[in-house]
């Protein structure tokens, strides 16, 4: 790391007060401090080199890549279907939304229409994932800042949803439930019942989270006016999701480029005005209420129907048929060994995940494998603004800033 040597400033004696000459010369130094990569508040393996003047941050240099696994290179080896489980490992807290964003990108490449019921199912599960993501964020952010209680309440409710995922697809975190052209399986009556029960149970619990934090003077003092970024700067840095909306820009792809079942649902996009950590917290809490609203509407509107597009050259056959029907088995085998034939071309498709815009830029030259796949990871791009946003704040506010971006290193480093 090429850094200047620690600079030493010797304060001159004030000419108006010559008596101070007798005092020993006050000497201050700029201090370099390594924070991470093993630090509980960096949410994974992230190192930041902080240049300090006293306790003030002068400059901070994020050092990333400790979790770099070369996912983009791996994508070039496998078929389009085979990349779905890799997307789980990007933002491992919110695997469903990664699957969703990836499947949408491939569907755009293949020009595939997803059946209506599948769109509703996708929206429901994506919003559940958004609730999980925000619960996880709220719990850990509050824990980092010093409010411990809310962590347990958030994780208690998150557990219910993770168990629901477990029943839906057999995994709590690495779900791989979305498929290109639809979803893997339908909701069972038991899952539906549990979901409805949760929707009645959950909104009062959000009120509870708010009570814990609003009345907590430490929380308010450490979030209000910390990490302020203006709307213009936030847009220029390419921030997205609640991090951008906290500054008063209502950029939300669910409204700007409506997809899936979102255009059929009524919901509002909470927007902050001060651009500080507190506003971003408030937006995330309000989004949980909105997610509950969206799920309710989807459950009401959803009709019976197929959950997978019927394009045998691209989409997978239903699992039951693979074991009983020869054609279906051949179809499954061919799709996984050779992949489907994608047309040559180039697309970008962004999806509003709970952290921000998660996009996939896919270049295809024909054939079963992507020629180049680039992931636009919101965590990575948010880290780009870290230095700018942290300047002038106290050392402890660096922790607040990590939290306010909602970074997950799996996605940041890919």
């Amino acid at each position: 790391m090429a850094f200047e040597d620690q600079r030493t400033t010797v304060y001159k004696v004030d000419p108006e007060h010559p008596e101070s000459e007798t005092l020993p010369t006050l000497r201050t130094e700029e201090l370099l401090l390594n924070m991470g990569p093993q630090h509980p508040s960096t949410h994974g393996v992230l190192k930041v080199i902080l240049e300090l003047e006293g306790e003030r941050l002068v400059k901070s240099t994020p050092v990333m890549g400790y979790l770099h696994r070369g996912v983009e290179k791996l994508a070039e080896e496998g078929t389009y279907h085979q990349f779905i489980p890799h997307t789980d490992r990007l933002d491992y807290v919110c695997a469903m939304y990664n699957n969703f964003a990836y499947c949408r990108a491939v569907e755009k490449l293949m020009n595939l229409q997803v059946p209506e019921r599948a769109e509703y199912l996708r929206t429901i599960v994506a919003e559940i994932q958004r609730i999980i993501g925000h619960q996880f964020w709220l719990g850990t952010q509050a824990l980092d800042i010093g409010a411990m209680t809310v962590f347990f309440y958030c994780f208690r409710d998150r557990e219910i949803l993770l168990d629901w995922f477990d029943e839906l697809c057999g995994a709590r975190l690495t779900t791989s439930w979305y498929r290109i052209g639809g979803v893997e399986r339908d909701l069972t009556p038991s899952l539906l019942g549990k979901l409805k029960q949760f929707l009645d149970y959950f909104p009062p619990k959000i009120d509870e989270y708010i009570v814990f934090l609003e009345k907590n003077r430490i929380w308010v003092a450490r979030t209000k006016g910390v990490g302020v970024i203006s709307a213009e700067d936030a847009v220029s840095f390419g921030l997205s999701g609640p991090t951008l909306r906290g500054s008063g820009v209502d950029y939300d792809l669910r409204k700007y480029e409506p997809y899936s079942a979102y255009p059929k649902c009524e919901f509002s996009v909470p927007v902050g005005k001060n651009g500080d950590t507190y506003d971003r917290y408030w937006i995330r809490v309000m989004e949980m209420y909105e997610s509950v609203k969206i799920i309710r509407q989807c459950l009401e509107q959803m009709q019976e129907g197929p959950i997978m597009a019927d394009v045998p050259s691209v989409t997978l056959p239903p699992k039951e048929r693979v074991f009983t029907n020869l054609e279906a088995m051949i179809q499954q085998f061919k799709l996984f060994s050779q992949g489907f034939n994608a047309p040559p071309g180039e697309i970008y498709c962004g999806t509003e995940a709970h952290k921000g815009e998660l996009g996939f830029h896919i270049v295809s030259t024909g054939g079963g494998k992507p020629y180049r796949l680039k992931i636009r990871a919101p965590s990575f791009i948010h880290m780009g603004a870290f230095d700018y946003m942290s300047r002038g704040y106290m050392i402890a506010d660096a922790i607040t800033l990590f939290g306010t971006y909602d970074i997950v290193m799996g996605e940041c480093d890919r």
């Binding site: 790391m1 990333m64 890549g65 770099h68 070369g70 983009e72 290179k73 070039e76 080896e77 755009k108 490449l109 020009n111 700067d233 847009v235 220029s236 840095f237 390419g238 921030l239 820009v249 950029y251 700007y256 480029e257 071309g345 180039e346 697309i347 970008y348 962004g350 815009e357 996009g359 830029h361 270049v363 020629y371 180049r372 680039k374 636009r376 990575f380 791009i381 880290m383 780009g384 603004a385 700018y388 480093d413 890919r414």
Partner: protein
């Protein structure tokens, strides 16, 4: 041709190379020398107004004369439109003007392109590796000539035939 691409062609008749529209995505290819000016035009012109940088990507075409392709994706929050700007550079001189003076977010994104593909950005304030280690000298991992399964490091490990007692 799409209206946006048409405007770029009209404003930069020399720098304009080609434009495509596929699956609703408009992409414009310009020459390397014009890239910075075109980007400035996309950002500042009131009809374009691309204030939001989505991502910077790169593609490697080893068989082409101009081997690398840098891809910028822009979005206009006020106008709700998208455009993709592409530039081709040869391997012998893979340098592109940095857009960090127009979009602040381009900083980390361009560093990633440099790290993964080895394309350098002129006037970039801090062009260092970002995901790979600083002292990594074995090339740029996303280039097509970088082997997909590694360079055989695993074969060079010393394995013990049996556990010494």
């Amino acid at each position: 041709m799409h209206l946006l691409a048409q405007r770029v062609q009209d404003t930069f008749p020399v720098g304009f190379v080609s434009a495509t529209e596929w699956r609703g995505d408009v992409s414009v290819t310009v020459t390397r020398d014009a890239a910075h000016e075109v980007a400035r035009f996309l950002h500042d012109d009131p009809g374009m107004d691309f204030d939001y940088i989505v991502h910077v990507s790169s593609v490697d075409w080893p068989d082409d004369e101009e081997r690398f392709e840098v891809v910028w994706e822009f979005y206009s929050i006020r106008k709700r439109q998208r455009i993709r700007l592409k530039v081709r550079v040869p391997e012998s001189d893979c340098v592109v003007d940095s857009l960090t003076d127009i979009w602040k977010g381009a900083d980390f994104m361009e560093r990633e392109v440099y790290d993964m593909m080895g394309i350098r950005f002129r006037n970039h304030p801090d062009l260092r590796r970002i995901l790979m280690p600083d002292d990594y000298t074995e090339g740029y991992p996303l280039r097509k000539d970088f082997p997909l399964r590694g360079k055989g490091w695993r074969d060079t490990f010393d394995f013990l035939d049996e556990i010494p007692r």
